[in-house]
Symmetry: none
Subunit: 248 residues, 2 copies
Amino acid sequence: MLKEERQNFILHEVNVHNKVLTTYLVEKLGVSEDTIRRDLNELAEAGRIIKVHGGALSRSFHNSFNSTDIYSLAEKKAIARKAVHLIQDGMFVFTTGGTTILEMARMLPENLRATFFTGSLPAAFEYVEHPHIDVILIGDRLSKNSRITVGGAAIAQIRQVKADLCFLGTNAIDIHAGLTDNDLDVVQIKKAMVESSSRVVSLSISEKVNTSQRLKVCDATDIDTLITELDPDDMLLKPYRAAGMEVL
Amino acid sequence: MLKEERQNFILHEVNVHNKVLTTYLVEKLGVSEDTIRRDLNELAEAGRIIKVHGGALSRSFHNSFNSTDIYSLAEKKAIARKAVHLIQDGMFVFTTGGTTILEMARMLPENLRATFFTGSLPAAFEYVEHPHIDVILIGDRLSKNSRITVGGAAIAQIRQVKADLCFLGTNAIDIHAGLTDNDLDVVQIKKAMVESSSRVVSLSISEKVNTSQRLKVCDATDIDTLITELDPDDMLLKPYRAAGMEVL
DNA sequence: CTGGTTCAGGCAAAATCCTGCAACACATAT
DNA sequence: ATATGTGTTGCAGGATTTTGCCTGAACCAG
């Protein structure tokens, strides 16, 4: 087997499984540990994989490992700062869960008077502290993963409202795949919110732009406004602007 | 499993649940306590989590940790300890808000499997951490004073359920005036819960026994069980026992 | 206060890694 | 054909990392 073949196999393996063990490759490819190690070093050198003790990780996996919550706090605050300007007195607003939404909740102007509908427990906790925000909690089964209420009753409650704004804390957005997520219950809640809102706003840190997950919430064209921490003129966002989306 | 995978899992766990126990990770990941401890130390060193005795917390949670009403905490814990024994596997349970209820939530046995219905935001926060407790959040307008949901929709949701138990965090109880409160919205929620439960349990610290407020929730005879921090034989509780109430 | 739990640091075994070196294959120049 | 250079591979060894166990200290609830 050629070296290039071998390295292609390794890359494929890493991309599919997000990780690979040295020992596994030794057995699978029938070469010595040293050879595998050299391959991994070369691939890591070229930036194709992340080498760790005992094997290697895919770049995306490592990124998700490094970019959780606190890490990209500054970006999320920047997004939140842009988002709060969209809310005006008297508005009805849907919000999902997620840490970006939480940052937004903490930044709401003291004198804003609006009504927020949410099934997110942490978000509700923030809103309820605000002197003039009315909070309507959407009730149903509380999902332990996402800490938002999910289920048919929640969706029915959402459908009863026609909101001015809907803020979606977004896991993945892509011009072709649209807005996607990986939790079916959450997807259904988001879908209902999108359908019940005049204006849909997606809050997405840039590293989630042009990525997609398994389950579809809505088409890119259903999103009215896209907010990232980047400058609106950034090249990355050009296709979204071209598709008629407002980019902030 | 690679070390990075493990630490990634830990981070994810902490970010989702705001906290994680060492023992939980040991079992879940199948490695020794020492390894988990080392992982937690490394993550704490890197500023990704906050290490505490027994596990770790998310940074955001640790920062926003507001020590709530610790007045009469010892008494409330004593009450909570008695109360949890009433809950059995498979039960449907209503709970109101209040710090005594919160203490009870923190004391639920790890292996208890039950379904809790509540409109209390802080209580839901505690329940959702529990591995086997299903939480049904009662939705409606969130009252800023009491941090529970109130209103007609909430009452309608309560009426749809017939629970085995109802725990009332009680402001005032009197053998003649019955169970009373001073917030009309809260009173209506409590009323609905009392009517929809087979067994009504009042959690009252002794200083609230034999006091009354303006608005009536229910008669003393509607209360099946009264729990205080006192010995059940205490003279103060005698009239309640005489009225047929179970006193714990 | 007391008993049980959790923690920190030292230690040893095992796994993993790196470096240098020799063997081999292949291409190219002489 | 032979010599030379380049690239690849496996191996030996010593260094490094990781992990589990141990002991005594620190911590916490009742």
